[in-house]
């Protein structure tokens, strides 16, 4: 008999007032008992709507059935047949819009907590198993992957499993892409990302850091070096600014810079050399997950007051509900329906305040969300010493500007055949944010997976 409790087994978490002062993981994870109890809420439906909601089609009811029986390693093995990064996905996927959004249990009550169960299996495996994946027999064909983020790592893993000799070229000094520079430690511990990458290396994937493709080597040179196909997963790294007065002041960061200093460069640890401003009051501009991450990092780095400044309402915020909820619990102040007009300096050229104008919502715009309209004369100042712009990113031009024949759209995104992920160049595939603009980890992984399949088909014919 399934467990008919209408609610999920609650996730143990650090108390808000304690966790907003440390970088340890907020959600502590299920115990085996909790996992088995939650797993028994799954009805094991015949038509598996949850699987269709997953961009990498994790065999959800099958793995949950094993969890319910306490067969955790078996459950892990089922997950990893389609998902190379389960410890990551279990933590950062927007499950409410994907698998859990389609769960039948969600119609009358809460869905099964698929994400937490996936995380549990991955963590259980990491903790209890020393087995490394076995390196498959090589087929002798070399494939280059550009960017060691979610799409590149997924593509590399899938190809390595099929016997390809895969080299991943990463511009930073550490592999992981947004998983290491963007998403903070308290949401995704870096030791977990490192383990997942070590698993890929055990499969035979070679990772070369410090390699800015487009500068040190071009894609054409990679082909000259014997790579038979290439996957571009270079992400959407270029930060947007608002182009308002005062953005050049000291104390204005892009979220990319603030998060990279904090997460990749470990500015929060004393034994690293990375400097970051000691902020007292911070305004983070934007309403997405990146804005929530930046705000929560600022709080942990010691800021007394942290605002989220967002031009639409709470309902329209693109961030995951859970992230917004966590931010609120941690004392982040939401200034919704507010839009920055300019950033004001002190006498030393440092940020003194941000001037905003109140907004109201009009008719829905092209995105389907109600368009924010300025309320004339409603300007107000928030006294802050730091402003973090988290209003989006676009793809980096380094590769497209050095690769002849690579077509992009007007936003700089690489154009691909959506079924095969092939670009306008033969043998060159792309996926993730480099194609879609800033999106989610799991969508990037789905694209990497599709590209690996296409590359395999392309090279099998050769």
């Amino acid at each position: 008999m399934p467990n008919m409790s209408p609610t999920k087994v609650p996730m143990p978490e650090q108390e808000p007032d304690i966790r907003n002062k440390n970088f340890l993981e907020v959600a502590k994870g299920y115990t085996a008992e909790m996992a088995m109890e939650e797993a028994s809420r799954c009805l094991n439906c015949k038509n598996k709507p949850c699987v269709s909601g997953c961009p990498v089609n994790v065999r959800i009811p099958e793995f949950i059935e094993r969890v319910a029986k306490g067969e955790f390693e078996e459950a892990y093995d089922i997950i990893t047949t389609t998902n190379g990064l389960p410890a990551v996905c279990g933590r950062v996927c927007p499950q409410e819009n994907q698998c859990e959004g389609k769960c039948v249990r969600g119609i009358k009550g809460e869905s099964v907590s698929i994400g937490r169960l996936e995380r549990f299996c991955a963590d259980y495996h990491m903790k209890n198993s020393t087995a490394k994946p076995e390196k498959p027999q090589s087929n002798g064909k070399k494939v280059a992957v550009i960017g060691a983020g979610p799409s590149g790592l997924t593509c590399a893993g899938d190809l390595a499993k099929k016997g390809y000799q895969v080299t991943v070229f990463e511009a930073f000094h550490t592999a992981g892409g947004v998983l290491v520079y963007g998403i903070p430690e308290f949401r995704l511990p870096k030791a977990i990302v490192k383990k997942e990458i070590e698993n890929l290396e055990a499969l035979g994937v070679e990772i070369k850091t410090d390699m800015v493709i487009g500068k040190v080597l071009s894609i054409d040179e990679l082909f000259d070096m014997g790579y038979k196909a290439c996957f571009i997963g270079s992400g959407a790294g270029l930060p947007s600014f608002m182009n308002i007065e005062g953005e050049e002041l000291i104390g204005v960061y892009s979220a990319n810079e603030y998060l990279t200093r904090t997460n990749l460069m470990k500015a929060y640890l004393d034994d690293y050399d990375t400097p970051i401003i000691d902020s007292k009051a911070v305004a983070v501009v934007g309403g997405g997950n990146v804005a929530m991450d930046a705000a929560r990092c600022a709080k942990r780095l010691g800021a007394e007051t942290v605002y989220i400044v967002y031009r639409r309402g709470m309902e329209e915020m693109p961030a995951r509900k859970e992230e917004i909820h966590h931010a609120q619990q941690e004392g982040i102040i939401f200034k919704n329906l507010s839009n920055p007009v300019k950033i004001l300096p002190d006498e030393n050229g440092r940020v003194r305040a941000i001037e905003c104008v109140e907004m109201e919502l009009g008719e829905p715009d092209a995105s389907g969300r109600r368009r924010p309209i300025e309320k004339q004369g409603s300007n107000f100042e928030l006294p802050v010493d730091t402003v973090i712009m988290a209003i989006g990113t676009s793809p980096n031009p380094l590769i497209r500007s050095t690769t002849p024949g690579l077509e992009t759209n007007k936003r700089g995104c690489l154009i691909v055949n959506e079924d095969t992920m092939q670009t306008s160049r033969e043998g060159v595939y792309a996926g993730g944010d480099a194609v879609t603009g800033a999106a989610t980890v799991i969508l990037a992984m789905g694209a990497g997976k599709q590209a690996a399949k296409s590359i395999d088909e392309y090279l099998s014919d050769k």
Binding site: P239, M265, I277
Partner: protein, 280 residues
């Protein structure tokens, strides 16, 4: 890991190193830079490439000891290895076919002015070099410069070597003496570049400057290196590091380079200035 093949102390605080980095050496052009990390806990520090040897596969860097990272770097010996060495980043200098050029270097900035002089001279331009230093004991690269220019003028602030005065004084006198430069290249501390631009502006001599703002990745990702050029925001790492000096907002750059200066003084153990100091 990137091995240090050669280490030479140019003066008390300026060190030259040749790094084994064949892929970068193959591609590097005058004006481009690298980013290095000394060790696993170090900062990413940008340094403009001083020279490279495509056959030997080496890239030369020259830096001044100004803070934590340059201090750590200076303590490394031949045979030691750097954790990271990334490049070549940024755009190569576009000399626009200039035929009569004055290259002006200030202090350790001479290290970066040198490859420009070398490239211009070997491509057939007539090159004057003005290399300015505070005093005789910190003069660097005199011999190297003398091989890649038509006239080398060394100035010192205190007159202990070469001509007494600032590079701007010498530049002004050369222009007033009738030298018709079609390009000036100024590389050094931000105030020096600013004042060189003020000298050349009334004569309409195009002036290239190499900027050194604070940055992390060097690929356009952090936006920390944004500078205002001709009223527009540019990222020095991908749009530069060279810009038309007559359009650069130097005062803003100086302020931004001071972002962590107070913190540095307050907490010397754990942080440092970079970018703003390393090339200055």
């Amino acid at each position: 890991m990137y091995k240090i093949l050669k280490r030479r102390q140019l003066n008390d605080t300026v060190v030259l190193m040749e790094i084994d980095a064949p892929l970068i050496a193959k591609k590097a052009l005058a004006g481009q830079f690298i980013i290095l990390r000394v060790d696993e806990r170090g900062e990413r520090m940008p340094l403009t490439i001083a020279d490279c040897d495509r056959e030997k596969g080496t890239v030369t860097i020259i830096f001044q000891i100004v803070g934590q990272t340059t201090m750590l770097l200076s303590q490394m010996k031949e045979g030691d290895s750097l954790a990271d060495f990334v490049g070549p980043l940024g755009k190569a200098t576009d000399f626009e076919g200039a035929k009569r050029v004055c290259v002006i270097g200030g202090g350790v900035g001479c290290a970066i002015a040198y490859p420009s002089a070398k490239q211009l001279y070997t491509s057939g331009a007539k090159v004057d070099v003005i290399a300015g230093f505070r005093s005789k004991d910190i003069v660097i690269l005199e011999e190297e410069f003398s091989k890649v220019c038509d006239n080398l003028y060394i100035t010192t602030d205190d007159g202990s070597y070469g001509e007494k005065g600032f590079v701007t004084d010498k530049l002004k006198s050369l222009i007033e003496a009738g030298n018709q430069y079609d390009l000036a290249v100024a590389i050094g501390p931000v105030p020096m570049m600013k004042f060189v631009c003020e000298v050349t502006r009334p004569y309409g001599i195009k002036t290239l400057v190499s900027l050194n703002p604070i940055m992390i990745d060097g690929t356009g990702m952090c936006g920390g290196c944004r500078v205002t050029v001709g009223g527009e925001t540019k990222f020095a790492c991908v749009d530069g590091p060279d810009f038309d000096g007559h359009k650069v907002n130097f005062d803003e750059l100086m302020k931004r380079n001071g972002t962590y200066r107070a913190k540095e003084q307050h907490d010397k153990e754990h942080c440092r200035i970079y970018g703003g100091g390393a090339n200055a």
